[in-house]
């Protein structure tokens, strides 16, 4: 650092000649030179949070949602959930094999996939276990640690439908067994249903190839469905007439009900929203007119409405929704808010295009008990104290 500054100072001095500066003016240093790949400012320090674990290859990391703007999550901050680490895959040798109940099994290289007709769409991705702590007493202190296993990107890839037409499904074909090239060969059964019309085999994210943590060079993207089914590092689609009941779709990601039965294949992520400012960990330093803001999304379509309460749910006001609003994508909401240094309990409530209204935590627990673990989408309250400290109201 010091070396560069000295060189810059010398260059500046040579260009201007000594004594050329006006009296009392400090010479300004040149900035750093241009470079081939950009880095963020050293003053920007947002990072993903990780839970302490003895197996860091099989953990999750959460997006700092309160520190992102708009609806796109920077790729480097996209949440992660891996089961056997991130593989290092050479796209020149990676292939996708589609076989099983098809007329023409195919093996495709990445170059062949990238030459096919493609689409680019903005979609959220959310872990089926996001906000799982909210079922119990372990609710997170801030947005990141309670709602951060959700992110939103522009994805580019080949429509799945195109490839299924290319291989030709046999009459009994009704499921895809998707398999990843990670060390654990992650495997999930994917029903071939109408919702799959949105699905793609994605190789691009936010204008560049997928990040390794998001499945480079190829992942399955089934927009709106829980993240686990959207298999990363995709190497195989085995077309079958039945689900294979893999470990991750039976013993995990199923919802245990109070009667001991567990719901299978709870794929769409239901409408959900969270206020990101003000939210847990923030401090409002003085009474002022603020902009309350947050994110809403639904795995069943477009967000049509977000309402805000300041009084613990007694009364609700409509927030303004940023346009354009995409299906199955984050929607940014905003509402001017005059904080008058009085205690408040704030929350957001989303409604999607199907008319579904985000439920309360109490409604969810009444319907499913407190042990289902996954697919929590309840209304999230933040408490603002008279002193301006914002905390998790459910802690």
């Amino acid at each position: 650092m010091a070396k560069t500054s000295r060189r810059q100072a010398l260059r500046l001095g040579a260009a201007l000649g000594s004594g050329a500066l006006a009296q009392g003016e400090e010479a300004r240093l040149l900035g750093t030179p241009l470079g081939p790949y950009g880095e963020r400012s050293r003053h920007v320090t947002s990072v993903r949070t990780m839970r302490q674990t003895r197996t860091p290859e099989a953990g999750s990391s959460a997006t700092p949602l309160a520190e992102t703007y708009g609806i796109i999550t920077p790729s480097a901050l996209h949440y992660e959930r891996h089961h056997a680490g991130i593989p290092d895959i050479d796209p020149a040798t990676h292939t996708l094999t589609i076989h099983g109940l098809v007329e023409r099994p195919l093996v495709l290289t990445m170059a062949e996939l990238r030459r096919l007709p493609s689409v680019s769409r903005i979609h959220f991705l959310e872990c089926g276990g996001n906000s799982g702590g909210e079922w119990g007493a372990k609710t997170g202190p801030d947005v990141q640690r309670s709602y951060g296993l959700a992110s939103c990107s522009e994805w580019t890839g080949v429509p799945l439908r195109l490839l299924l037409e290319e291989v030709g499904l046999k009459p009994k074909a009704s499921w895809l067994i998707a398999e990843g090239a990670d060390a654990c060969r992650m495997q999930r059964s994917v029903p071939i249903v109408a919702a799959l019309d949105d699905a793609m085999l994605a190789y691009g994210q936010n204008g560049e190839p997928l990040r390794p943590a998001q499945g480079f060079p190829l992942r399955l993207l089934t927009p709106g469905w829980e993240g686990n089914v959207q298999v990363k590092w995709l190497r195989r689609l085995h077309v079958t007439d039945q689900p294979y009941m893999t470990r991750d779709e039976t013993s995990k990601y199923s919802d245990l009900m109070p009667d001991g039965k567990a719901r299978l294949f709870s794929l769409p992520q239901e409408a959900k929203s969270v206020i990101t400012f003000p939210s847990g960990g923030h401090t409002l330093d003085r009474p002022a007119l603020l902009e309350l803001t947050g994110l809403a999304w639904s795995g069943r379509g477009r967000i049509e409405r977000v309402e805000i309460t300041f009084d613990g749910g007694a009364t609700w006001r409509d927030a303004r929704l940023d346009e354009p609003r995409f299906r199955l994508a984050f929607t940014r909401f905003r509402l001017p808010y005059r904080w008058d240094a009085k205690p408040a309990a704030i929350a957001s409530r989303a409604t999607d295009e199907t008319g579904y209204v985000q439920p309360t935590r109490e409604q969810l627990i009444a319907a499913r008990g407190a042990n289902s673990g996954y697919h929590f989408n309840g209304i999230k309250f933040w408490r603002i104290a008279a002193g301006g400290q914002v905390t998790n109201a459910d802690a």
Partner: protein
């Protein structure tokens, strides 16, 4: 009309619009590794007994799952039967998993955690046999292979229901 479409489907060049990729050989597909349906379709040759599995478990699995499979770094794998409808459900292979074939499929592709793929097919059968035996699902003399494993009925075989959402009305 139906006959016509069948004829069209039978002509690969006409049906395959984009012509991408090539046909994999059967050997290439097999080379991707075993993948197993609940009815056992896809299970390979090989076999293992609970006794073989006990030794294997001690050597390769106990470090994470505990000597008695009660869980440590890795999850608990034994017990919990009868707890699913209580306030403290214990979800294990024995109490929760609906299909024994899923256990073979998962261990074969993902375990041991630090060396997935290192076990032979017979070692996977042995590990499965041991876990089924300590959960009281098979007997100590029962051998697991491609014919016997799909016949094992897991205690929670009927414990799963379809997604019932949206389940909350305003």
């Amino acid at each position: 009309m139906r006959t016509l479409s069948l004829i069209l489907l039978a002509v690969p060049l006409m049906a395959q619009k984009h012509g991408a990729g090539r046909t994999p050989t059967d050997q290439e597909i097999r080379g991707l590794g075993a993948t197993v349906a609940p009815d056992g379709t896809g299970l390979p040759e090989g076999s293992g007994t609970p006794a073989e599995g006990r030794a294997l478990f001690a050597a390769r699995c106990a470090k994470c799952h505990g000597e008695k499979a009660m869980g440590d770094v890795g999850p608990r794998l034994v017990g919990g039967q009868g707890t699913l409808a209580t306030a403290q459900p214990v979800k294990t292979v024995g109490s929760f998993w609906p299909h024994a074939t899923s256990l073979w499929n998962y261990i074969n592709r993902a375990m041991p955690f630090n060396q997935p793929g290192a076990l032979s097919h017979s070692e996977v059968y042995a590990a499965v046999a041991y876990l089924l035996e300590i959960n009281g699902i098979i007997g100590p003399k029962d051998t697991m292979n491609a014919r016997t494993l799909p016949k094992v009925r897991m205690p929670n075989r009927d414990g799963f229901v379809p997604d019932a959402r949206p389940d909350i009305k305003r």
